[in-house]
Symmetry: C2
Subunit: 318 residues, 2 copies
């Protein structure tokens, strides 16, 4: 393997050296992290789901001042500023736009007309097929071990990736449980053309996550990742005091209204951005138990690619 | 890769040609399936958790009449016939005994003294470490996508295997979501020395599963696998009418007593052995959505090994 660059359908689509996308996480993925990942040869992605329209424009400009490499923007389809964000990325001709949490039909044509590639996040092979029909360029198949918003079907990466691979002809990016060269190699064995990594980059030096949030990722042990809010929209988070409040309510049979009342507003901002690890929500994947240090995004990418090459070499010698 | 046989620490421990173990499933893994898998070069495993002491002895004799290759016996540690079963496998000098659902300390020494190798099933790296301390020969690390009884921590195979690999020096067998050459290759990329496959063999010709149970596996679609009974002991099963009754109770906050009352007795036997797919429990893994035909166990093993060799070859050329 040439470790200076790898060619897959995704590296070609994105114009990047390594088939690694950084997850566009709310309150976490700003211009510093995005530029650092793109400078390291992966695809950095701004998380616009926590940005006002002017903030997104500003972050795009900042990213451009920090890197001349391609980067992407993640836009949740049901966000209150979705329309404005779509306009912004079209005007700015962002090379890759990642849409999620809504129908892939809604904006794909608009984005294509502006010259943007469109990747859509899917938790099932059924939605992957709909994405292909809608003309999406690639799907990001995200297993239930991933942090943040998650599919109702709770399909794990090990089952999801081969299912999606068999369901569509467009490229597949694997997400959920991926954090190093071994898990990246596993994703490729399952049929992926690239990986998306979220939580490990959330704990990187360049991430906008509050230091207490990063430390909570580092400190987390096996079993400290909980999939909650299944009646509202399954969300994977760290076992904080507030997460346990949600769990207690759910175990007691709480319905949607009661959960909405408990949640209130801005819990993700409170946790991720303001660092209130008692009362905020800290979205993160199951890999929190495997992450034990804060590194630069560049070191993370380099370390993953080195291990990936070693593991792929070993596979040949079995 | 030599596809006639592969050498890993597990093939050496078991004296088998291929690093594939068949899950010892209650009501499903009898002498026919066990012998068929062992004859195909894997390790067939009797599921003693649904057998009376005389039935286990009979099944061991039958298996021996059908194969001269090594095979194993799975013994749940908290079963009412555990003591008798342990005596039987010691007397019969079964080469590999797989213990689960209890402390690895309890029987390992007894089994070792009788010349049996001991593999213990674990849902966490923490328990894997305890197994190593207890002198177990290998651990079967089973992700939450696996069928039947499951860990409370709900750790997926993608996260669990590298965690366990890093936690212990003894060999690691991956289970949960494994059903073909791609998933087997992924397990090896994650650090496994072998795989355990349950659900696909449950749907094989030689399995003792009722034909209606096999058909339910074939018919199942994405999302038809549910992890239920989390307050009693998490169990993954097919979305049958009875499974939905459990789910409704749980969503309404039912406690242990209410769930025990709903369950009554013999639900697994009713589903798996008697084929009552309305009122029985059909334990099965998430891979049900990927299984679409009933094959002989020998064809399954051969197909997996062929695909495994192809995938490992491709990994080298990335």
């Amino acid at each position: 393997m040439n470790t200076k660059s790898i060619t897959t359908p995704i590296t070609k689509l994105c114009g990047i050296r390594y088939p690694i996308l950084q997850g566009g996480m709310i309150w976490v993925s700003g211009s510093r992290l995005t530029a650092a990942v793109s400078n390291a040869g992966g695809l950095g992605v701004l998380g616009s789901g926590s940005m006002r329209p002017d903030a997104l424009r500003e972050e795009i400009q900042k990213t451009r001042s920090l890197t001349s490499n391609p980067f992407g923007v993640n836009i949740p389809i049901s966000f209150k500023y979705t329309e404005e964000h779509i306009k912004t990325v079209c005007e700015q001709r962002i090379p890759v736009v990642i849409t999620s949490a809504g129908s892939p039909k809604k904006y794909t044509e608009t984005l294509h007309n502006a010259g943007c590639k469109v990747f859509h996040v899917v938790p099932t092979a059924m939605l992957a097929r709909k994405c292909e029909d809608a003309g999406v360029n690639a799907v990001i198949a995200e297993g239930t071990e991933a942090g943040g918003h998650n599919g109702y079907e709770e399909i794990t990466t090990m089952v999801l990736i081969p299912s999606v691979r068999d369901a569509v002809k467009i490229p597949v990016i694997a997400a959920g449980g991926i954090m190093d060269g071994r898990t990246m190699a596993a994703a490729f064995a399952l049929g992926a053309d690239a990986v998306q990594i979220g939580t490990r980059f959330a704990a990187s030096e360049e991430s906008d996550a509050h230091p207490s949030y990063k430390q909570a990722i580092i400190d987390a042990k096996e079993g400290d990742s909980l999939l909650l809010l299944k009646k509202l929209g399954p969300t994977r988070m760290i076992r904080t005091p507030f997460a346990l409040k949600i769990k207690d309510k759910e175990d007691a049979g709480a319905g949607k209204e009661e959960l909405v009342a408990l949640l209130g507003e801005h819990k993700a901002r409170e946790g991720a951005s303001l660092g209130n690890i008692q009362e905020g929500i800290l979205e993160a994947g199951q890999v929190i138990s495997r992450i034990n240090k804060i590194q630069s995004a560049g070191d993370i990418v380099a370390e993953i690619m080195n291990e990936f090459a070693i593991v792929c070499g070993k596979m040949h010698n079995i």
